[in-house]
């Protein structure tokens, strides 16, 4: 009886494994290739880190184990090995999947605000800061009472250098 139960348990585990295998490999698996060439692999990984896995929830094809991701990564490797440049591979991907596949957005009129934005924000921020300090100096020069009307002057530590 105990034997039977043991066989039954083993059989169940085995069938679960078969189930797992069929579910995980219901489609022909594309295996990751490795060229053995360290310099090439570095280029592949760098480029793959900029390309989006289109069937994932926000992952690069370098990091994803999804079928399509591995397939695209292998394609990148093949093309780079053939001597194509990074830009050519990027163009290849964009022609098929759109700008969406690039994690580094292209610089176009639509993305001008995106790429220029940080610098613009910084200039505005610094400009406002300078303007504020200057306005404050002018205010201090002309009046004395309105400044600290609400906030009593803090006792200043004696700290003149």
């Amino acid at each position: 009886m105990a034997e039977l139960l043991r066989w039954a348990r083993q059989g169940l585990t085995a069938s679960l494994w078969v189930l797992a295998a069929t579910c995980a490999h219901a489609q022909p698996v594309v295996s990751p290739q490795d060229s053995g060439n360290a310099a090439l692999e570095l280029r592949v990984n760098q480029l793959a880190s900029e390309l989006r896995c289109l069937v994932c929830q926000n992952q690069t094809i370098a990091d994803s184990h999804a079928e399509l991701a591995v397939q695209l990564k292998n394609e990148v490797r093949t093309q780079l090995a053939q001597g194509r440049s990074d830009d050519e591979v990027r163009d290849f991907m964009v022609a098929r999947y759109g700008d969406f596949v690039l994690y580094r957005p292209p610089v176009t009129t639509a993305t001008a605000l995106l790429w220029a934005g940080p610098a613009v924000l910084l200039l505005i921020g610094l400009g406002l800061l300078v303007q504020h300090i200057r306005a404050r100096q002018r205010l201090e020069a002309t009046s004395t009472s309105t400044l600290d009307s609400v906030w009593p002057e803090e006792p200043t530590p004696k700290e003149q250098a």
Partner: protein, 176 residues
């Protein structure tokens, strides 16, 4: 005083964008850059006739629909009745595109579920699928008489899609 309104103003602009996004944006939808461009050239074997080769050029002069599917694809089974129905009506020639599959399972799948296609192209390694920008199956392409892709539908096709999108589009393309 006025500059203190600036943060509020910026926020309202942001909120409007978010509201617009909420209404219009579907994060899953991915427009295809191939729409409006000629269908990429390929030279693939026919699924049930390995000695026969098919190229897109042989469809020039007619409007046709390319449907990508695979025997391992579960949602393809969902849309299959719609395709069979479409084939029965004879509205437009359907060409199957067996994506990243194996010949025998592919043939068996058509035998089991019915074959709505005039013929089926066999893309074993998915290379041509990549040229078509396929990211999963099923995907359906509508191609005009000049061989230009005019519409791509990702995911299973439904009866609504046939009624509301396909038939009107076909009518327009048949004229041109």
């Amino acid at each position: 005083m006025k500059r203190y309104l600036l943060p509020l103003g910026l926020f309202l602009a942001l909120a409007s964008t978010l509201a617009l996004g909420l209404k219009r944006v579907d994060p899953q939808a991915l427009p295809s850059p191939l729409v409006g461009r000629p269908v990429p050239a390929f030279n693939l074997t026919q699924l049930d006739a390995p000695q026969t080769r098919i190229t897109p050029a042989q469809f020039k002069g007619q409007v046709w629909v390319l449907n990508a599917w695979a025997s391992w694809c579960v949602s393809c089974r969902k849309e299959h009745p719609v395709l069979l129905d479409l084939a029965r009506k004879g509205v437009v020639p359907l060409v199957g595109f067996n994506y990243q599959d194996q010949r025998e399972p592919g043939k068996q799948w058509l035998q089991k579920h019915g074959n709505p296609y005039q013929l089926t192209v066999f893309d074993e390694d998915g290379r041509v699928g990549m040229d078509l920008g396929i990211i999963g199956v099923p995907e359906t392409f509508v191609i005009d008489k000049q061989g230009v892709i005019r519409h791509k539908h990702a995911g299973p096709v439904t009866a609504e899609w046939v009624q509301q999108t396909l038939l009107p589009l076909l009518k327009e393309l048949q004229r041109g």
